[in-house]
Symmetry: C2
């Protein structure tokens, strides 16, 4: 037999549970008594006791025969008992927190299962980084598993990642503990473009997805704005049964549900698409079994102040969805998609992951049980959860000699030049583009901060090419100084913007010195900084509150000291590197014309 | 990589489908145009074309760009397009047909996937027999897979099967092609009895189910009339996510759905439970995603005259269920349970298994596509499907020396004795029991045909013990003669009943000579017979119509020549061997008091 020890252990567990149910002298460890059961299987709410033994639910109904002299009976009269919540698509990197610190903030909100796509670390560090995150999964009390990218970077011709992940890496990665499939299939998001321009990517992707399917693994899709044949091709590239977390309109949601896509209705810190997507259910009456709630990106401050999946469910109820149906979208539906058959409902034999809810409309989570143990109450984690420190192998990921101003210069002949300028749009990944007349001084094209035209650059930071892409940008409104960060979707090179090249070089150099992170510079001096030692993306030195406070301070510094006018400037800058979303972006290879898969010169 | 060839082949298939969707000069093979799509994913019906390439659905919607000069466009205006139907729980043995002959009858009704539990052959022949059936699965054009028993016989202390299957057989069986899990978990159907009387069976069963779960396999339950702690224990014994096809009341259905059991609402030739079970949906409004339609046992005549899953769906609609919801119960819902993610809906990337329906209320299936090929039209199979012949290794399963009258005698002292008598109940597996005064002649207790008291015996037929269980029976009404059969649930020894021992011995001896089958004898002469050479249960010599005609002739012989008064006498006799259903039954070990797990003497 395979896995002899695991099988034997499981058989003994089953046997003990059966003994507890059948023998007259054995009893439950714990009975939650007097509550209202939220039954996600039948879409009902009714009074039921829940009996727990070890990690498992023994019974949900009349549990009186299971109460013995040593059974702890907890009165939950007036409370609702829900299965623990699942976030089916998220990136820990967006929070800058370790899995441990994210869990510390999310468990008290009732989230007991997280499926994360570590594609940020994957771009920066490749399999080494993703396996290090998979290792951390084993150290948290909640259920955390990873789905990994089949391709890094997203657009190999247009940008440089730290490591190139391809189908050759799949056997190693998909065989690693806590890695359960392939994450959002980014290489084929823009189906028609990829088909025309880099068809070899499709061949490699289907090799990966066919292999994943042969293991019974899941493959998440990523099909923003795809319809008809393009959507069908994307679905087939994933191997047929897939998801999409980039659905932004009702019509798109209707078509994806009809095509069999599990729609991850996204509602996170930055992108909020649930209210639009849910109209497929509330207005069209579609079967909601393939509707799933997910956050994609959550920052630490939102986790602390708003909650996690409970908040997303609350908002879904506000859109007119029956509370049990909304809860299904964060419990049974995702567990069906992922094959987590031991969760998603409060029923005999399933893991005792339970959220105790005091107000169903507000989704106020009063207590949380994880595998039968009281894990949190009144918003506080009760489990002992030591901070997790990452190994040295995933630190020191920044390799570039210090920059000089000259490295960042954009040169042109004459007195004036026409510069190409990315135009940042508040709260969007998309950009606009402009061509502008700019002054040339001593052969160097000059930014024009008075008219909100700044320099922008992207510095390859993995020691592979050392290349620097350069262009101009509008939208940040800086009056002075510069800021840089090693967060640059999705390759996570160093992005920098500023009014002058000296401060920009200083900011980049500080990020290099930190081994990754964020730096704000004015007059050659570092005003504020945050080290992100793990892959240049995550800190294993700070907790959630500390990160929130630091981000707040960094943002205030940009606004107050540099005169920045765009809120969340680091997040906005980081998405200017995303070479898959139109129109113009910047990578280490230069200014990218996304729609035409071309690298443009910053000067016309 | 594992399965290099399979993975490569799949990747090439994906790539070709993507090419067809994206390249301007490639087109679908077939487009079904103008029909109404039954979308099981969203529970909608709307106009859509369906484009097919090779085995797969390319698109379901606007397929105009996929129609090229060589595309076959079939006008299905006015028809409904449904995914092919799934029967999730059935036994081929009940039809006495090979998988091939069953498929010949069921494909034209729209059934494209069958999951069968070969526990009859499993009891008779063990792994050799089940693997022979799994081999036949590869020879039919529809999708047929098996789930195998974890235990034969059902009650090892009370009966003898041909082969004892236990957990030791699971690695071999569950690793065999076309075997995908464990079938109805019969050893633990009567949870409290087994717990008290043969707890070692539970230990062996959970070893099997834990092993199956470690492979990601399914495990079907079998929980008739179980509630509360007993039901919970049964669910846990299966490993947590399971089904039950033995649910007979609304209350039982409600409890099972609440506990997370997939309820296989049974509607076959003998047992009809759907109308009662469906009330959980129609009256209580429960979420129906875990409701599944299944037949359990279908005889050839019903397949020919009524249809298959289309007929079961039709009856479900008659109970007030929305047609699309009823169709979900035989398509998407079972495919979700089984993990058949490539089926269950008409959507891009899924297999093109499609039923073309002309009348939705009547579920009239006009044509059937299997993996993109037209497989049947107007009730006729269009594919070339040669009859399948089983290997010699699964024939000649009957090993017993010819009986004499003396072998069947029940002896007692004196002139009179009190005999124990099983009372058959029409259309039920359950029996009643009686103790009756009987005449003793020359030391032999006499039957009393004038008062409908016949002899019954069960002869161990596998050459293991040669044992013969004996008792009396009421309910068949024979006036003369005897009949015997090698169908005797679930061990399939030879059951015989009759008015006199001479005809009984002759009938058994004819079944022995046939190598298994059915024989009707009067005055020492065989009046009618049917050979069932495959394990004594199935014929690979006759097709469906021939078997129907033969059964009809056998039944008429019992009625007309022997004076039998009970309809379907062979089926009723066969269930008198079922040692798991109350009250009294007969096995090769003797008269069984099912409720008390005891063997009784036929004489008080």
């Amino acid at each position: 037999m395979q896995n002899n020890v695991t099988v034997l252990k499981q058989a003994i567990e089953y046997r003990q549970l059966i003994d507890t149910l059948m023998a007259e002298d054995r009893f439950a460890d714990l009975v939650l008594s007097g509550g209202q059961l939220i039954n996600t299987l039948t879409r009902e709410i009714y009074p039921a006791d829940v009996a727990i033994k070890g990690k498992y639910i023994l019974m949900a109904g009349d549990a009186s025969s299971l109460i013995g002299p040593d059974t702890l009976v907890v009165d939950v009269t007036g409370r609702y008992l829900s299965p623990g919540f699942v976030d089916s698509h998220m990136h820990f990197e967006s929070s800058m927190l370790t899995i441990t610190e994210f869990s510390r903030l999310s468990i008290p909100s009732g989230t007991t299962t997280l499926v994360a796509d570590p594609h940020e670390i994957g771009n920066a560090l490749g399999p080494v980084g993703m396996k290090a995150m998979a290792d951390e999964c084993a150290h948290v009390p909640n259920h955390v598993q990873l789905v990994v990218p089949a391709l890094t970077p997203d657009c190999p011709n247009l940008e440089t990642a730290g490591v190139d992940v391809t189908s050759k890496d799949m056997p190693d990665l998909l065989g690693y503990p806590n890695i359960i499939g392939i994450g959002e299939l980014q290489g084929f998001s823009n189906a028609r473009h990829v088909y025309r321009n880099t068809p070899e990517i499709i061949t490699d992707l289907v090799a990966s997805t066919a292999y994943a399917r042969s293991l019974g693994d899941t493959v998440d899709g990523n099909a923003p704005d795809l319809y008809g044949c393009d959507l069908a091709a994307h679905i087939i590239a994933t191997g047929g049964r897939t998801s999409c977390h980039e659905t932004t309109s009702k019509a798109e949601c209707v078509e994806k549900l009809r095509y069999g896509v599990y729609v991850f209705m996204r509602e996170g810190s930055t992108q909020k698409n649930m209210a639009e997507c849910i109209r497929a259910v509330t207005e069209e009456g579609m079967d909601s079994r393939n509707c799933i709630l997910a956050t994609d990106d959550m920052v630490a401050a939102d986790l602390e102040n708003l909650g996690h999946m409970n908040e997303i469910i609350r908002r879904t109820i506000r859109q007119g969805v029956d509370p049990v149906e909304a809860i299904q979208m964060a419990t049974l539906n995702p567990c069906t998609y992922w094959g987590f058959h031991d969760r998603g409902a409060i029923a005999p034999g399933r893991l005792a992951d339970i959220a105790v809810i005091s107000d169903l409309q507000e989704m106020t989570v009063e207590a949380v049980f994880l595998e039968g143990k009281l894990a949190a109450a009144n918003g506080k984690l009760l489990l002992d959860l030591p901070a997790y420190t990452y190994p040295e192998s995933v630190k020191h990921s920044v390799h570039h000699a210090p920059l000089t101003e000259a490295d960042l210069q954009i040169r042109a002949e004459g007195q004036q030049a026409t510069g190409r300028c990315i135009v940042a749009i508040p709260d969007q990944n998309l950009t606009e583009c402009e061509e502008l007349p700019l002054r040339v001084q001593g052969g160097v094209v000059q930014a024009d901060p008075a008219n909100d035209v700044l320099y922008i650059a992207c510095v390859e930071r993995y020691g592979r090419t050392g290349g620097i892409g350069k262009a101009f940008v509008r939208g940040f409104g800086l009056k002075q100084g510069a800021f840089a960060e090693s967060i640059a979707h999705d390759t996570h090179n160093i992005l920098v913007t500023g009014t002058n090249l000296r401060d920009m070089a200083a900011a980049v150099n500080r990020v290099i010195e930190l081994g990754g992170g964020i730096a704000v510079v004015q007059g050659g001096r570092v005003l504020e900084e945050l080290a992100l030692p793990v892959g240049g993306l995550i800190t294993d030195e700070l907790g959630g509150s500390e990160v929130s406070a630091k981000i707040d301070s960094l943002e205030r510094t940009v606004t107050d000291k540099l005169g920045g006018t765009l809120h969340a400037p680091f997040m906005h800058l980081s998405f200017l590197g995303l070479s898959t979303s139109p129109k113009w972006k910047i990578t280490d290879k230069g200014l990218i014309d996304v729609n035409n898969f071309q690298i443009l010169d910053p000067i016309v």
